[in-house]
Symmetry: C2
Subunit: 328 residues, 2 copies
DNA sequence: ACCCCCTGGGAGATCGATTTCCGACATGCT
DNA sequence: AGCATGTCGGAAATCGATCTCCCAGGGGGT
């Protein structure tokens, strides 16, 4: 009933623990092919599975990478975790995913839990640009951490993100190209993405442009935004949403209030998640090069510490046009 | 730079490792309050974090529970994982979430990875009622496993699920109550949930009732279903979907084909996920008592092995009526 | 005054793997 | 033949915590 240990395999194969380890862990030196076969066979027969804790204790590595996202309720973060999972799996590792429930305290707790020997390195999508920094800085001293999709002030480590400024540029240019000039922005105010999108938008449209700032990226927030947009309907003919979930909430509420999309108001999302295709109309958005970002992130995570000096690396977005911004 | 160990704390506090451990691990016996304070202080000052692998190796427990879901792309499974996370956290543990990418091979691999010393116990939402069984049976011999939301044949362990038969009953009764008698069912054919919902539906409606079986629970499958429903539009005035994501794909496609919902066809979902409220019309669904199920599941996971004998425990569903089934 | 019991600290064994170090043996070269 | 070199198996140390076992000292009972 109790799990077989390395020594059981070794005895069954008639060799020492050292030899069995050399065969099964693969590393180290050559062993006689004949002995190797006997060990493999014994391991197979006994159903041997190396004890992960013992191996991790001895080698100091777990073969596991973690990722902490603000919330899995936002499908974009699921997609993001998936992209990282593929890269990690391709590299022969395992990924564990944690959810910070949009709360910096839970985020800090999750970081601590994962870092105390459960993972070799960590991707973090910080909940807040301001409040997440200190916990991350402490953690980054202990193990490699790479920020992903968002950065945090004073994090002390590198961030791999989208080039938000050019993404906003693409969207605004596209909207102006179809004749919309009274563009409003809906974004959150806590995340670095929100802040960068707001900054780029204000830069492009001037300080008088309509902006609606909400506490978080949720569909509920999107509905709230819709109500405010409706109040000032004649001053707005297009809305750039800082996240797809916002756009979904917004479009569904506009629809119920009989505001035509894109007839009266054109709408764009941000992140290009699956659900956008399901809405009526399907929503224009911006796609992140998640695979490339994940690959780069993993490289940085495994690189020597000095390559993770605090800075932001930005990846180019891609515009995906759909019916929510078709010409009328 | 290198992390402080227990022995460092002990030396700083002027006590032995044993005493330091007794204070910090909390278990075992009393220690002199004065010494305890000194140890706590030293640990605090050095920023001591116990090495998780070492502790797990010695105690044989990790304080971590795992859950493997078919895919995180389905928001219902995210909600489910969340409910489990809350129970686990309330019990002082940590949850790790894995995604099987709807593939029994990846599922088996994830089970193996997690069970080789990373978790004390595992919740599995099996991908397939037939194909997932053997891997789970093997795994359940090594550590406690509880199936959740779905069961698998020959799994050798207990399953905590919804009472699918009465859920289908609630939906069918409700639809008949608003005068719909030509009801169709859309479900998948691989999962136990799909199978049970199909069986209950056939039992209630007779073998001639329209049923559409799809390979999986996705919005794309929902669109395919919509096309088939449209082909036989005059034989159908209501559709029971075996999952919310199916309903979402179905309604959005019906909408595009100018089929009125609920005017011509009433639609119900299954799982009561958030997104249902966003659609036009909002969709009637069935809510799972996820908290109660998670609590029961955790109890079973921590109980002695004999309490996890193979069987299915069913929890009562709750009908949530929305506009997609309003009377016309 | 003596002994026993109880409390609580410390030395060392232990969990299960990997890895260093040593020695045995075979091989090749002069 | 003799010695240097290389290959490979095994004994034992090691990772960092917990836990068993022993022992010292204080308090209470007779």
């Amino acid at each position: 009933m109790t799990a077989p240990r390395l020594i059981d395999v070794a005895e069954a194969a008639g060799v020492s623990r050292a030899t069995a380890s050399r065969v099964l862990a693969g590393t180290q030196r050559n062993v006689d092919p004949d002995l190797a076969r006997r060990v493999e066979e014994a391991a197979q027969r006994l159903g041997y599975q190396p004890n992960h804790s013992a191996r991790a204790l001895r080698t100091g590595a777990t073969g596991t990478i973690g990722v902490i996202v603000p919330t899995l309720a936002n499908p974009y973060f699921v997609q993001l975790a998936d992209a990282i999972a593929q890269q990690v799996r391709a590299a022969g590792g395992t990924l564990v995913v944690s959810d910070a429930a949009n709360d910096t305290a839970i985020e800090a707790e999750q970081i601590d839990t994962l870092l105390s020997g459960r993972v070799d390195g960590l991707f973090v999508v910080p909940v807040s640009a301001d409040a997440s920094g200190p916990a991350i800085r402490d953690a980054a001293r202990r193990r490699p951490i790479v920020l992903f999709d968002r950065w945090a002030k004073g994090s002390g480590t590198v961030a791999v993100t989208l080039d938000n400024a050019s993404a906003v540029g693409l969207l605004v240019d596209h909207l102006e190209g179809i004749g919309r000039h009274r563009i409003a922005l809906v974004a959150d105010q806590a995340s670095s993405s929100g802040a960068e999108r707001l900054a780029a938008f204000t830069e492009a449209q001037g300080p008088d442009a309509t902006t609606i700032l909400l506490p978080d990226f949720t569909t509920d927030a999107g509905r709230t935004a819709a109500r405010r947009i409706i109040e000032q309907r004649d001053r707005v003919d297009a809305v750039v949403c800082g996240a797809d979930v916002l756009a979904v909430g917004l479009v569904s509420t506009l629809h119920r209030s009989r505001v035509a999309v894109p007839g009266q108001i054109a709408v764009t999302g941000f992140d290009d998640t699956e659900m956008l295709k399901l809405l009526d109309p399907p929503i224009t958005s911006v796609r992140h090069p998640l695979s490339a970002m994940a690959e780069r992130g993993l490289t940085l995570l495994q690189a020597p510490g000095r390559e993770r000096a605090e800075r932001v690396e930005r990846f180019p977005p891609q515009l995906v046009v759909r019916a929510s911004t078709s010409e009328t």
